[in-house]
């Protein structure tokens, strides 16, 4: 997997993160890192280059806004972000989108949808 794309999955629920990771690895042959909280996510973003970030909005210590702001505004990177939402209000999703989130997926997640969106953003 020399040219495997790198994905950072930020979710405090390790089961969900693991499921997403397995799915992406199996179908897109990506190299995935899991961050269990907001601080670990920011640390991972600082120490490595990722081709895609998949994050839930509510993370321990930091919110989805913090992750987007850190990546898009502070680091000024073009790394695409998919936001996983759990019954969030439309205006929160809209704000996240204005801040730079590239796509979002509502719970319950459809893994095929996630695969299609990830593939699209990875090839962009």
């Amino acid at each position: 997997m020399m040219n495997a794309k790198k994905i950072l999955i930020c979710d405090d629920d390790f089961m969900t993160a693991n499921m997403i990771s397995q799915k992406l690895q199996k179908n897109l042959e990506t190299e995935n890192t899991i961050a269990k909280d907001g601080n670990a996510a920011l640390k991972a973003l600082d120490s490595g280059d990722y081709n895609l970030v998949i994050t839930v909005f509510q993370l321990p210590y930091k919110s989805g806004y913090d992750i987007i702001q850190h990546l898009k505004q502070d680091k000024d990177e073009k790394t695409p972000i998919i936001l996983l939402t759990n019954g969030l209000a439309d205006d929160v999703i809209m704000n996240a989108s204005l801040m730079g989130a590239d796509d979002f997926l509502r719970k319950p997640y459809n893994s095929i949808e996630l695969l299609i969106r990830s593939r699209k953003l990875l090839s962009a």
Binding site: M15, T16, N18, M19, Q22, P108, N110, S111, I112
Partner: protein, 338 residues
């Protein structure tokens, strides 16, 4: 009282207290141990489950027990704490994902015979266990769970009853099939609970509540009448007519009169007139209500006739009735002047 009695009582009390404290401590220690074990194995189980689910996805029609990850999970299930952990994770996945993953989770759930564990919990004497059993059955959307929800919807504990009713509304093919049971009784709280759950669900098929109007429990009949009014079920007309004819319960009659007025059921007019003519069926309030309903659905002549030929025992209330109708429908004054 002899001193020896006091000493004996003190001794037994002390021994009892010591046993009681040891029992509490032991239970707490057991619980903490279970939590520690669950935390220790969580990451390992989650990773194993994720692998197993994607293995199953490709081999869903084959013998799942032959998959190494499934084999490992089944072996781990001999420990009750880990079994509970796996069950919880399976339910969580069902709520988090949709599509292929959920299909795989269900297949795994049945291969590992997890439903028997959940059913066993619903039969426990402990309230929390019964609730947990319902959660585990509904969480996985187990199609055979409805019979257990129905059984628990008549549970003596209100919390268990509430959870069973909610689970049945959400996951059973017929959301209110527990009303078919002639022993089902509904409290005012149950009625509010069901009504609120039904209104929250967009996709649920609202049944014809007319089918429960001949239920042996009056509380179910009253609830059905409220729902007929709420969902404006004209299809219940035939059952309404039958009930109105044979019932003499004031609340039942009052609820039917409300429906007649709200749904403008002119077809019910002969039944109301017949009931009014036989003054024995109605008390004063109901008599006035029925007159008002008749007037509201447009039968002024009948109202006039009935008001002027009010039964002897109600004649004292004629003035009240007249005032009532006049207040609600000023244009009906001509009836009263007749």
């Amino acid at each position: 009282m002899p001193l020896s009695y006091i000493w004996s009582a003190t001794f037994f009390f002390l021994i009892g207290s010591v046993f009681f404290i040891i029992n509490i401590r032991f239970r707490r220690w057991m619980k903490m141990n279970q939590q520690r074990k669950a935390a220790k194995y969580a990451t390992f189980i989650q990773a194993l489950l994720a692998k197993a689910i994607y293995q199953i996805e490709d081999k869903i029609d084959s013998n799942l027990q032959a998959i190494p990850e499934v084999k490992k999970l089944m072996k781990l299930c001999s420990d009750t704490t880990i079994k509970q952990l796996i069950l919880d994770e399976l339910v969580k996945i069902t709520n988090t994902f949709e599509g292929k993953e959920v299909k795989s989770v269900r297949a795994l759930y049945f291969t590992m015979k997890m439903h028997t564990e959940a059913i066993r919990k619903t039969k426990s004497s402990r309230i929390q266990r019964r609730i947990e059993g319902i959660r585990l059955l509904s969480g996985i959307r187990f199609s055979g769970a409805s019979e257990h929800f129905i059984r628990l919807s008549t549970d003596s504990n209100q919390a268990v009853k509430d959870v069973a009713i909610i689970a049945n509304i959400h996951y059973a093919k017929k959301p209110l099939n527990f009303l078919d049971d002639p022993h089902t009784k509904l409290s005012r709280w149950d009625a509010i609970n069901i009504q609120s759950q039904l209104s929250k669900m967009q996709s649920v098929e609202i049944p014809n509540f007319g089918i429960w109007l001949d239920h042996s429990q009056l509380s179910v009949v009253h609830f059905s009448l409220m729902m007929i009014r709420e969902y404006q079920q004209y299809s219940a007309l035939k059952a309404l007519k039958t009930l109105f004819r044979k019932s003499d319960h004031p609340t039942t009659l009052k609820l039917i009169l409300h429906i007649i007025k709200d749904l403008h059921l002119v077809e019910m007019e002969p039944e109301v007139v017949a009931k009014l003519k036989n003054g024995k069926n109605f008390n004063r309030k109901l008599y006035v209500k029925a007159l008002y309903v008749l007037d509201a659905i447009g039968n002024s002549e009948a109202t006039k006739l009935l008001l002027t030929s009010m039964p002897q025992r109600l004649i004292r209330n004629r003035d009240t009735s007249s005032k009532f109708i006049k207040r609600l429908r000023p244009e009906s004054e001509y009836i009263l002047t007749a």
